[in-house]
Symmetry: C2
Subunit: 437 residues, 2 copies
């Protein structure tokens, strides 16, 4: 892990290095993904069965593509009851937090007969993608399904690739059922995204597709965007710890490593005003590395995207944090709440020395699907907002329209849109007869 003095230049260099991790440089797979999308669009189910045989080595048919009640029951039998209890506790917290995000339809009205407002409607059908493979993340299943459920989405469809035995990993099924998935299909990869975007005989077309996935899944989501909605395409995980000399280096180092272990592209950055802390964190990291099971991944990600930045003062440190706009930001300083008030850009902000980042990954309630790669400057965590849309509501009485109709006619005429002007004018042509509009 490099230690660098924080300057405008070093911040710029770091930002450029981090942006190398952007998924936009994966163009070479685009053609393969486009072919998969096309084939599913044309051949529907048949294409899904073929790709599942080819990529997942599993025999899927119209009869077994949908996970059955029996399979879900089996899954419950296989999951450790104490893990199920933890999942249920986490679920309560996640649901409680997301319920606070619900938005109401609203209107304003006036006595001469105008009503304006917004009607909030949940999306009708949402598709949640859940990756397969050895690494199973039930937390991710909860985080993607709960906001849709809380938003009131009546149809939540999930797709996940089967193993060679044609089965879905039991923890995934249990998490999906607990969170509220309505139906689960055994199909993965770009072909699953295509199925949810266009619809097949077995899988209905959805309005929005969310959930993490490999590069094929990410490119497929990007390709179908506009035809359906998608969540933002997530990049590698990031943590930025903002710390002064009050921070505990043993904890800071552990938290940096918690994100570095995700994958070799993950980034862990400490910005501190204390050279003393910087040294201690470096040495703590070396200590942990000897015992942590994912040592190889951690070493690679720290080498490529890990930094310890020494700042002149806290204001400079905060400014750099705002520039970097990290997915996760921990504030471990004196007056941590005051520092938080100065943070403009971060996916999630963890305040104080006991708000360790993994608390947010699993348990506290806020969503762990967060903007990465500097996009916290303009994107937000996955939330209930992602599963609703708003229709404007406009009502004007005759009296109310009459009062302003000449203004509208003048505005439309200035824009040379005469049929616009006409549609207002015809409603008052009798009383305006003889007027020069």
């Amino acid at each position: 892990m490099r230690t660098v003095t924080l300057t405008k230049e070093s911040t710029k260099d770091i930002l450029e290095n981090l942006l190398k991790r952007s998924p936009s440089s994966y163009g070479k797979y685009e053609m393969a993904v486009a072919q998969i999308l096309d084939k599913v669009k044309q051949e529907k189910d048949q294409a899904l069965f073929g790709y599942t045989k080819e990529f997942d080595k599993a025999d899927i048919t119209a009869e077994n593509i949908k996970v059955t009640e029996e399979e879900i029951k089996e899954a419950y039998d296989q999951v450790d009851p104490s893990l199920l209890a933890v999942i249920r506790k986490a679920l309560v917290n996640i649901r409680t937090y997301h319920e606070k995000q619900r938005q109401n339809s609203w209107f304003t009205s006036s006595e001469n007969g105008t009503m304006l407002g917004q009607k909030v409607t949940p999306l009708y059908r949402v598709g949640v993608y859940v990756p397969g493979g050895k690494a199973v993340y039930p937390s991710s299943v909860l985080m993607n399904i709960v906001p849709a459920k809380v938003a009131g989405v009546p149809n939540i469809v999930m797709c996940t690739p089967p193993g060679r035995d044609g089965k879905v990993y039991p923890t995934t099924l249990v998490a999906a059922r607990e969170a509220g998935a309505d139906v689960i299909y055994k199909v993965g990869g770009a072909q699953a995204v295509a199925a949810m975007a266009f619809g097949t005989e077995s899988i209905p077309k959805v309005d929005k597709i969310v959930g993490p996935g490999n590069i094929f899944v990410a490119l497929a989501k990007k390709a179908v965007y506009g035809h359906v909605s998608i969540d933002s395409v997530a990049g590698p995980s990031e943590i930025l710890v903002l710390a002064d000399d009050t921070a505990n280096p043993h904890y800071v180092a552990a938290d940096l490593l918690s994100q570095a272990e995700h994958d070799e592209m993950a980034s862990a950055i400490l910005i501190t005003t204390s050279t003393e802390l910087a040294k201690k964190v470096q040495s703590e990291i070396e200590g942990y590395l000897k015992v942590l099971s994912r040592r190889e991944i951690i070493e690679k990600s720290l080498e490529n995207f890990g930094y310890i930045l020494i700042a002149e003062d806290m204001d400079e440190a905060i400014e750099a944090a705002n520039e970097i706009a990290s997915e996760h930001l921990e504030i471990v300083t004196a007056n941590a709440f005051e520092v938080m008030m100065k943070i403009r850009n971060a996916g999630a902000i963890f305040i104080g020395e006991y708000s360790s980042e993994p608390l947010g990954d699993y348990f506290a309630g806020p969503n762990h699907v967060l903007p990465t790669n500097g996009t916290a400057k303009f994107f937000s965590a996955l939330s209930v907002d992602d599963f609703i849309k708003k229709s404007s509501i406009v009502y004007y009485s005759r009296e109310a329209l009459k009062e302003i109709h000449k203004d509208i006619v003048q505005f439309a005429t200035a824009e040379q849109l005469t049929a616009h002007a006409n549609s207002i004018a015809v409603r008052f042509e009798k009383e305006d007869e003889g007027d020069s509009l």
Copy 2:
């Protein structure tokens, strides 16, 4: 304008025909746009000056790319004072409506020391694109700038192409100043989008680009999406009128034509339970066509994308309206508010016979930047929501984390993320010593 009996099949055919208007079929310009983006990224200002000479035939330099206070003063002298008065009245309505959309940061807390919430922050810098050419739409300037301003965006940058004389159309400048643009640059097309996405010597990089434009602008916005945020790529305008035998055919026809005049790709659809009304609207349209100035455009758009659909009953009509998910939906029926309650998908809903669609384009207050091409199933009108982002806030005291730390360790361990588990465990290693976690 075709008259068709409404069935599931006819609805499907119409949807397929409307989707032909999707901008996703403009792939052939993508290469040209990619070249422009690349050149601006590399050569910055020089590329802008070159393209402006090439495409707009105007000489723009570092000295005159920014609109001066003097130019704005000149513009005010040239705009009809009565039009300015109308713009100001509209602005008050638009601002008042959008102010209702403001969202608060919020938190919940518990006495054992947990605080969870969302911190709402406006985007820092937003770019608004305004098309040039003969058609000048000051209403569009207002609709794109006001929500950003109300959201609290401190830096609103506008780009618009100059005429051959190097000037911007005066109404555009006046509308921009009235709405609250902070700085205006004379550059248009894909090159303007590139400048705002990457930054040049003259034009600062922004966080989000909004505003309508031609196919080059739309493709450029799509290409930079992810690097910055964008509004949704708008398709051709649409109106759907839902009417029964209580509707006035003279008004209904005028409203259909108000959207049909936008361009040849615009779509105007009437769904009615009354064959009598259908006939009368058809004949009214023929009457209007004789007198409206944009007759040629209207005839083409009606021929290609205009429909009168006869429904069995209102429920069937409503179901088709939800399937079509029109940008603008007028409800001109008995019990119009009750019909509104059954509408799931529409960009903006106009209720009753005096809520003519152009009222919303100019004056009532709701935004006229609306989802098109069926995307009202998952997208919303441009709003204050588009110019804020939310950071999750997580605070746990030692006591609060202690209570649940073993749950998190178990969850992380089940996901084989041992460094995640470690970061929680190290905070309680003394008291847990001897425990088997």
